[in-house]
Amino acid sequence: MTPLLQVENIAKFYGARIGCTDVSFDLYPGEVMGIVGESGSGKSTLLNCLAGHMTPDRGAVRFDTRAEGLRDTITMSEPERRMLGRTDWAFVHQHARDGLRMNVSAGGNVGERLMAVNARHYGDIRAEAIDWLGRVEITEDRIDDRPTAFSGGMQQRLQIARNLVTRPRLVFMDEPTGGLDVSVQARLLDLLRGLVREMNLSAIIVTHDLAVVRLLADRLMVMKDGHVIETGLTDQVLDDPQHAYTQLLVSSVLQV
């Protein structure tokens, strides 16, 4: 089986400082990978390198494209990479306002990716937008409201709908539940878990919240100071952490 994403020795430096280094892994279709670590551990840098928002200094990121199989997304041309970014890839930002157009209605936000791949029938675009808003539990009568009129949780769900409407195969998520209160977080996680299973999505989730990876991720990668210090199945890493830092991380979670 070909991996969907093959990451080989990715390294990114900010001058003399390390962003992240020596990161390698394979991600298979339908698999959800969690990346955890404290602030400044390089997990967001890594995610941005993988998603093509940043160019890594070393290494290769190979994606299993529909047409030509595994291609290195770092050396492919920018139009091709941007095309992937709006078809087979999706990127969910921590702050919904980074990923949404705040002055465009919810329907327009969801429809944008469709129109970007040449959907030119208003009725079809709108029907698809209504369908996707429904899937993320936003009622149809909110379709013409702007995201500024939505709550934080709704904005995040709208962002997810906007990203998944072109049925991507790989979703990058940067702290998708950050800044939301716990009950809204729980609902969002429930929704994400359903969508991931239903659409057989592969996803890479960056978070510092261990509960999020416990719920969503099949595999886990723990990062510290730009290095990967432990990898394994999620339950294995969380229940039997081997590295001293992972042990610290797991024991730092507050128990209610």
């Binding site: 157009r101 209605s105 429809g111 944008e112 129109m115 029938h121 208003y122 013409d144």
Partner: protein
Amino acid sequence: MSDYNFAYLDEQTKRMIRRAILKGLAIPGYQVPFASREMPMPYGWGTGGVQVSAAVLTPDDTFKVIDQGADDTTNAVSIRRFFQKTAGVAVTEATSQASVIQTRHRIPEEALRDDQIIVYQVPIPEPLRFLEPSEVETRKMHALEEYGLMHVKLYEDISQHGDIATAYAYPVKVEGRYVMDPSPIPKFDNPKLEMSGIQLFGAGREQRIYAIPPYTKVVSLDFDDYPFQPTKADHACDLCGAPDSYLDELIVDDVGGRMFMCSDTDYCATRRKQGHVGAQGMPYEEDAA
């Protein structure tokens, strides 16, 4: 005529502008940056158009200026005088006699010939600007032909108003490649963008020049189920009776009286001279004010 160089601008500046115009003509619809000069008029009054006109005018040209279709508004009169004074060119109000026409917000009703040049004054040349504030990003979108966002604007129109409510500056795709803002002409004029004349667009404040060569394919963007429709007031001209021209609505008293008249003053006057009379019009008289 010793006070100014011909047509106000110095020759080096004109060469620079001509290079931008030629590049614009070679890449239809592409916005060419140019070093816009300070002109003796405020931004928004047609500094871009004036610079393009200055660069294309020759002493043998006949110059016409229209503002919203009219030859006799402040903007039109002052720009016409400006070139009378600085270039000494002949001026006219008749579309058919002009070789260079500078315009704001309209295309003349009368079809232009292939020996005529029309110069548009453009306030904001970037059609994607109101949706994407970053110039870096919009340039990239043009370069990579990523125009999905333009349809988001039309989508928003339909979702809010039930129809494509954009009535002017209606985005077009030029020769199947660049999406372009045709300047704030009414969408009624969009079909005329496919013409035999040379079309030059100048944006002074934004420092951009773009162009449409003669006989270039210009398509107004739309949706399959909401096709592009040029619109005008559902009326005939009250002065000349023309049923097919773009109309201005004029309130004539405070009890609801109104009249519609051609926005193209030359077209209306020519028809009246030919004896056409509209519903509220009087037969044409020479010297009638």
